[in-house]
């Protein structure tokens, strides 16, 4: 075992593999954070479309489109979406995107499908009278949603959004399918240096656990400070 450790340390420090790990760690976090932000943005728009009153034809059509979008992203594996994006869709559209940017986009769109459902539940939990009061003051549907309903909805779903972030962190481990560098690819490389995978993969698992636990603790902190402002 100690021999395996020394081999790992040899690769990790002497062969500067820690730089690769740091890059992988950075990418994992960047994809998850940017993916979550895109997901919240697009997801909020989709949720607002889906709860819009349906007496206008345009609202009905938009709702159908939103439904199809959500079904696609929830109904296919993220790996398939990454492959489709990186090898099919973007090249067909003539857009050249780096693996990292592709991952950010695809994870963002994928997450938006889940976030839209979370957000919809959050909006449903905001009393109907809130939107009515804003509308009665002459504010349009979107400005009212933006200023009154969405801020309260986000507050209500913050813990669930935290869970979504944690799933994103874990799901990024498949980005090597489109040649992006993340924590997994970094440790894969370290192992490949001398075909010793046991320690690298154990350390990799530890890093994921530390990340997830750390984020969980941060979310708890945020929730607690929000509850305080409730009492105000």
């Amino acid at each position: 075992m100690s021999k395996k450790w020394s081999k790992f340390l040899d690769a990790f420090i002497d062969h500067k593999m820690y730089e690769v790990v740091l890059e992988g760690l950075r990418n994992t976090i960047v994809i998850a954070v940017a993916g979550l932000l895109i997901g919240i943005l697009v997801g909020t728009i989709i949720a607002s479309i889906r709860i819009m009153p349906k007496y206008k034809k345009s609202a009905k059509i938009l709702d159908k489109i939103a439904y199809a979008y959500v079904s696609f992203f929830r109904g296919t594996p993220i790996v398939v979406q990454l492959l489709l994006g990186y090898y099919v869709l973007f090249p067909l559209m003539g857009i050249h995107l780096s693996p990292l940017v592709t991952c950010i986009l695809i994870f963002g769109l994928n997450s938006s499908a889940y976030t839209s459902e979370i957000m919809r539940a959050g909006m449903d939990s905001v009393d109907k009278g809130q939107l009515e009061a804003a509308r009665a003051l002459g504010m349009g549907y979107w400005p009212s949603m933006l200023r009154v309903v969405i801020p309260q909805a986000i507050k209500n779903i913050l813990p669930t959004l935290g869970n979504e972030f944690i799933s994103l962190i874990k799901e990024t481990s498949v980005v090597s399918f489109v040649t992006a560098m993340d924590i997994y690819t970094a440790f894969q490389k370290i192992g490949g240096q001398n075909y010793e995978y046991i320690i690298p993969y154990l350390v990799m698992a530890a890093i994921y656990i530390i990340l997830v636990l750390g984020i969980g603790a941060l979310i708890k902190l945020m929730e607690r400070s929000l509850k305080k402002s409730d009492r105000n």
Binding site: A133, A134, R135, G138, P143, Q152, D230, N232
Partner: protein, 276 residues
């Protein structure tokens, strides 16, 4: 001020408003009374199209609000509404509750003014006209606007007797305080008419008085109002006209003296006997 003709509303098979016709003149205080489920709230909510009427017309500021093509948001700026459940914005403090909508509208109008001045000047460049439209300074005007609206909010808070609550959040207020803030919030838009839907029905009895006092002083200041209420004594005191709505129509209307003192329709008599 507002002219309602043959107003109709269905909820599915439920024919809730069956042809309401009445005109509310400037400065009038109209009390709406009647049995529960008779359509009072629906009538009031149709006036600012929180419920879309499906027949008849509502003439206001020269337009028919029942026509789905009108810019309803523009008209709602001039129609204040106070709800039974207050509906204060839970995530904003009292002052921000009051100033949010006026700020939103003021900002929008200012942006429009700046934009159209710029467009005008660009057009002037390409035409023979040499006059330039002065472009308002967005930052300067915005600052003045913010100051003005904040002051308006503080004045209104004083008017409803809650100056000390500017920074408080709605969850910390009593029902009576919430409703007085809700009234101030509606007034901050400087509406031409105010609609009240049972403003005291969700209040503990000892808090009813403070809210009615605010509405009374508003009536004395000449505000045009439509008030759905179960407070018969209050209706009698402040209303210039009382509508009795049952089963989706105005069964009877008149001055408070006529309606309370000498009701003619058996339905009105029966209702008044039960509540008085």
């Amino acid at each position: 001020m507002i002219e309602i003709k043959d107003l109709q509303k269905h909820f599915g098979d439920n024919h809730v408003l069956r042809g309401i016709t009445t005109t509310i003149s400037e400065g009038e205080v109209v009390a709406v009374i009647g049995p529960s489920g008779g359509g009072k709230s629906t009538f009031l909510r149709c006036l600012n199209c929180l419920e879309d009427p499906d027949g008849g017309s509502i003439l206001f500021q020269g337009e028919d609000l029942a026509d789905m093509k009108v810019d309803i948001n523009h008209h709602r700026e001039n129609i204040g509404m106070v709800f039974q459940q207050f509906n204060l914005f839970a995530h904003k403090n009292v002052l921000k509750n009051i100033t949010m909508a006026p700020l939103y509208h003021g900002k929008k109008k200012l942006k429009k003014a700046v934009f159209s001045a710029i467009i005008n000047n660009i057009c002037a460049l390409f035409s023979s006209k040499k006059e330039k439209t002065p472009v308002p300074s967005y930052r300067k005007e915005m600052k003045a606007l913010k100051e003005e609206i904040k002051q308006r909010g503080l004045d209104l808070l004083q008017k409803v007797g809650l100056s000390d609550k500017a920074d408080a959040y709605p969850s910390t207020l009593s029902g009576g305080q919430k409703q007085r803030i809700a009234i101030a919030r509606a007034l901050a838009m400087q509406p031409k008419i105010m609609l009240f839907d049972e403003p005291t029905s969700a209040l503990d009895p000892e808090l009813v008085g403070e809210v009615l006092d605010v509405i009374k002083s508003l009536a004395q200041s000449g505000m045009t109002m439509v008030i759905v209420t179960h407070e018969m004594g209050f209706a009698r005191e402040v209303a210039s006209r009382v509508l009795f709505i049952a089963d989706g129509i105005i069964t009877e209307e008149g001055t408070p003296e006529e309606l309370f003192g000498n009701p003619k329709h058996p339905r009105t008599k029966q209702f008044l006997k039960a509540v008085l």
